[in-house]
């Protein structure tokens, strides 16, 4: 019963000498947003191209809506909306004309499809401006409009927020969350921006150096992350001594001369504060923090971090 919208199995792509994707197995579910996170050149675009059948697969398997794409293109493509890398449109036409071309080719039945899609991404309908005169953000918006115009069940969006302004990003984010939560669409989205995936995704796949390092739900990932108490003091060396005297085996980590983390959440911040001060250690700051995803990714990528 647990049918995935996209399921890849040991998906691999080799370009000549270079491996672009190595044994990646991802699972995208209905009604959820799957964030593919990875740095430039990690292999995100290549994975999406293979899922869409735009480039050949070296080895491994892909199932979209539980079926193999080959031979089913006519049935499967109309259920998918996608942007891959930069949006490709005709520069001598306006945004509306461009969308009308794709609507006509898709045989979109709804006469207002183009108008509605433009409205969603905040571009004017029947505007005179040619695509060649669009800004990067406007091009990206038109690409998104084209991807959602035919009301697909699955969206595949390759770095869709590139070039958008912060307000635009928030708008698109809300819209995508609406689509997945209210309308049950599956969305596969890639980004090299961790905070963006953090805000948007329900599930996450971390791609690093062409391999999938981690696949999990965001809740699962957050649960894994530890809380800690962060102290900024005049001298961490003295503070550490004091801590060991008072608490014996408390788990802590010294960051630098002034910053340290206590991972034992059973200690009382106010008590520690008092002990530090009475023993002549100045306390500038003390608070409870979550270990960020960033820290976590630094850990699993062996220090380089993910974004």
């Amino acid at each position: 019963m647990d049918e995935y919208v996209i399921e890849t199995e040991q998906l691999t792509k080799v370009y000549g000498e270079q491996t672009a994707v190595d044994a990646v197995s991802i699972h995208v579910k209905k009604g959820r947003i799957y964030g593919l996170l990875g740095r430039n050149g990690a292999g995100k675009t290549t994975i999406m191209k293979m899922v869409l059948g735009l480039t050949s697969v070296t080895s491994g398997q892909i199932k979209v809506f539980g079926k193999k794409m080959k031979g089913q293109e006519k049935k499967i493509y109309p259920r998918i909306g996608a942007i891959i890398e930069t949006p490709g449109f005709y520069p001598n036409l306006t945004g509306t004309e461009n969308l009308e071309i794709f609507a006509k080719l898709r045989g979109t039945s709804c006469p207002d499809a183009v108008k509605n899609a433009l409205e969603v991404v905040g571009l004017p309908y029947r505007d005179k401006k040619l695509f060649s005169k669009y800004s990067l953000g406007m091009k990206q918006r038109l690409g998104i409009a084209n991807a959602i115009m035919h009301d697909p069940e699955l969206l595949i969006l390759d770095e869709p927020i590139n070039g958008l302004d912060p307000i635009g990003i928030a708008e698109i984010r809300n819209f995508l969350q609406d689509l997945s939560k209210e309308r049950g669409k599956a969305i596969l989205i890639s980004s090299h921006i961790l905070s963006e995936i953090d805000l948007l995704a329900d599930d996450i796949g971390v791609i690093h150096n062409v391999r999938l390092l981690e696949e999990s739900s965001m809740e699962g990932l957050r649960r894994k992350n530890q809380k800690y108490i962060m102290f900024r003091v005049s001298s961490t060396a003295t503070a550490a001594q004091i801590l060991e005297q008072k608490y014996g085996t408390v788990k802590y980590r010294i960051e630098d001369d002034n910053a340290m983390r206590i991972y034992d959440m059973s200690v009382d911040i106010s008590v520690v504060n008092e002990i530090f001060i009475t023993n002549g250690v100045g306390v500038y700051e003390s608070r409870v923090c979550d270990e960020s995803l960033e820290d976590y990714f630094k850990e699993i990528t062996g220090g380089v971090g993910i974004a």
Binding site: K49, L52, G53, L54, T55, S56, E73, K74, Y77, I80, A82, I84, E85, T86, G88, F89, Y90, P91, N92, L93, E97, E100, I101, F102, K104, L105, R106, G107, L130, N146
Partner: protein
């Protein structure tokens, strides 16, 4: 397929190419008219066949380059990935572009029907009759459609170099030029020469034999069939990777 052809027409909006082609045609027309004005003319029929023969020589350059341009545009604008997801196959796209080029060729030749009548009036050839005008339209229509078939080898090369304009334009130019220069020598060998011989035989070629027409027709049709097959195989093998 019909909506594909309609979109080809939509994509042509605001393209300067249309204007350039009209300009070239007018220039060509004024040149010929100027020349025809200064030499004695016979009847209307020989007038329009001669004019048709010349304008038909311009046609392969125009439609070949037009095809190269609109085929390359899909690569240049990175629109293939969008089209393939519709899904449109490369093969459908290829033939819809040929059909669009055919429409353009027909329009060009119909405009030339008017131009040749205007030229005839200017040059004082006024013995026009209705049935002659009908014959004129038929001849020019045949020239337009025949020339599209004769250009299939150029379309094939364009597909093979995946829209590399410089290479395919050069091939188009050399191919068209050879077909025209070698009208007599290449009849039955070069599709353009063959077509010109079939349509304008006696007027522009020294062979002018009727018996050679069958060979010429085969010379046009065989490359068309071969192109259709080779292109299909090419797209099957190259599927993916080539297109973004």
């Amino acid at each position: 397929m019909i909506s594909l052809i309609q979109t080809e027409i939509l994509k042509f909006r605001r393209q300067k190419t249309g204007l350039i082609m009209a300009g070239v045609m007018l220039l060509f027309w004024s040149g010929i008219t100027f020349w025809a004005y200064h030499v004695p003319q016979g009847d209307f029929e020989s007038f329009y066949v001669r004019y048709g023969g010349y304008i038909a020589m311009l046609l392969p350059f125009m439609i070949g380059l037009l095809f190269v341009k609109i085929y390359h545009a899909e690569y240049q604008n990175d629109t293939l990935k969008g089209l393939l997801q519709v899904p449109v196959t490369m093969y459908q796209l290829f033939f819809s572009k040929i059909f669009f080029v055919f429409l353009m060729a027909v329009i060009i030749m119909l405009v030339n029907c008017l131009l040749v009548i205007a030229a005839a009036c200017i040059c004082g050839v006024t013995d026009m009759e209705l049935h002659q005008v009908v014959m004129l339209i038929k001849l020019f229509f045949l020239a337009a459609s025949g020339m599209v078939f004769a250009m299939f080898p150029v379309f094939l090369v364009t597909v093979f170099v995946s829209g590399n304009t410089i290479f395919s334009s050069t091939v188009c130019f050399i191919y068209s030029l050879m077909g025209i220069i070698g009208v007599s020598q290449f009849a039955g060998i070069h599709p353009i020469s063959s077509l010109l011989n079939i349509l304008f035989g006696g007027q522009i070629s020294i062979t002018g034999e009727k018996s050679i027409n069958l060979v010429c027709a085969a010379d046009i049709i065989i490359p068309v069939i071969m192109t259709a097959v080779i292109v299909e195989i090419f797209y099957m093998v190259k599927r993916g990777d080539r297109f973004k």
